[in-house]
Symmetry: C2
Subunit: 189 residues, 2 copies
DNA sequence: CTATATGATGGCAGCGACTGACATCAGGTA
DNA sequence: TACCTGATGTCAGTCGCTGCCATCATATAG
């Protein structure tokens, strides 16, 4: 075997998730993760900006997917419907890697630092979706509001999905939550 | 002067904000902050869990205020109206310390770590508001959705408030944004 | 086939955030 | 006066993270 086994980045991601599951995020040092992947600590930080980032490598792909999904929604769709459709599509993708997603989410939920990182990724997602809506001609603050509301719906739906025992379909939960949001905001005043 | 000057915590908060404004969050070390407050580095970490937390000391007070404001909303108020009223009241309080708020927000906006911490504080706020709504008899997921939607409105309104040159009233911006959220979510489907 | 350029990696020193353990001091109390 | 309690100081040590330079594998030029 040569000095450079292929897919160093992927090996680091898998080694990290393994160690985080085995003994928790804080108890696993970067040096250990790198060693398990057959690499040096210094190399870890060449692939990931910091220790948390190793769990969020897929965020960029997900964001690009969501943005393109918003862009290709029917021209007649309202902003909120475009966001709904995009999130349901992304949820369907996610659900196929259900086991990985649940394991990863358990690690994140057990650690505040990771929760913070997740929130800022979701905020970036909201900003990207708002941008996609503006490119559809939606003006602010409607674009930002639709995007943030969509992310709120996604957060709540995802929490219900991981917490519930059986495997209900995530897209369905998202659709329901959008409906409930409509009822909640339709109030008086 | 005695060994223990009063209000060590407050001195640390002020020294930290000063240094962050002067040369940025990352360039200011905890040791420097403590020295400017006339204390040792170790004492800083007895008052604040970590370096970021020194900027978020008021979050707990704000959360208690919001929860009680939701609790004392008229019994007939819808969930979203209760959240609206609470946020407008909190915004009025905040606006009185407008100069401090803007300075603090500038520091936070310039640093990603601080932005992350702010987001998790807002998420905690949303959870607390949802709890207050449940105590009013609102069931989930309506309670969570109303709370998250409210926080989304707050985020967007606050951003507009700090970015705009003149000093428009923050409560008014929040009220407007709730109205726009209603229009956005009222879409078809 | 050899020399060289390029990119990925390793090793090391060092800074700053954070923590545990122990000593010290001010103020109150028996 | 002796003691107790809480806030602070000091010190050593771990870990995340970075800059710097050496090293190795592969590709390409010659």
């Amino acid at each position: 075997m040569g000095r450079w086994e292929p897919d160093a980045r992927g090996r680091l991601e898998r080694a990290a998730l393994e160690l985080f599951v085995e003994r928790g995020y804080e108890q696993a040092t970067v040096t250990e993760i790198a060693r398990r992947a057959g690499l040096a600590q210094r190399t870890f930080f060449r692939h990931f900006a910091d220790k948390r980032e190793v769990l969020f490598a897929g965020a960029r792909t997900q964001q690009e997917y969501l943005v393109s999904a918003v862009a290709r929604a029917p021209e007649a769709a309202t902003p909120i419907d475009a966001v709904d459709a995009a999130l349901e599509a992304a949820a369907a993708e996610l659900q196929e890697r259900g086991e990985y997603a649940r394991q990863r989410q358990a690690v994140i939920a057990a650690n505040q630092e990771l929760h913070e990182r997740e929130l800022i990724k979701l905020a970036a997602l909201a900003a990207a979706i708002a941008g996609a809506l503006r490119r559809r001609g939606v003006t602010d603050p409607a674009a930002s509001l639709a995007a943030e509301a969509g992310i709120a719906v996604y957060k709540i739906s995802f929490e219900r999905w991981v917490s519930e025992p059986g495997p209900p379909d995530l897209p369905g939960l998202i659709r329901e939550s959008f409906g409930e949001l409509r009822e909640v905001t339709a109030g008086t005043a």
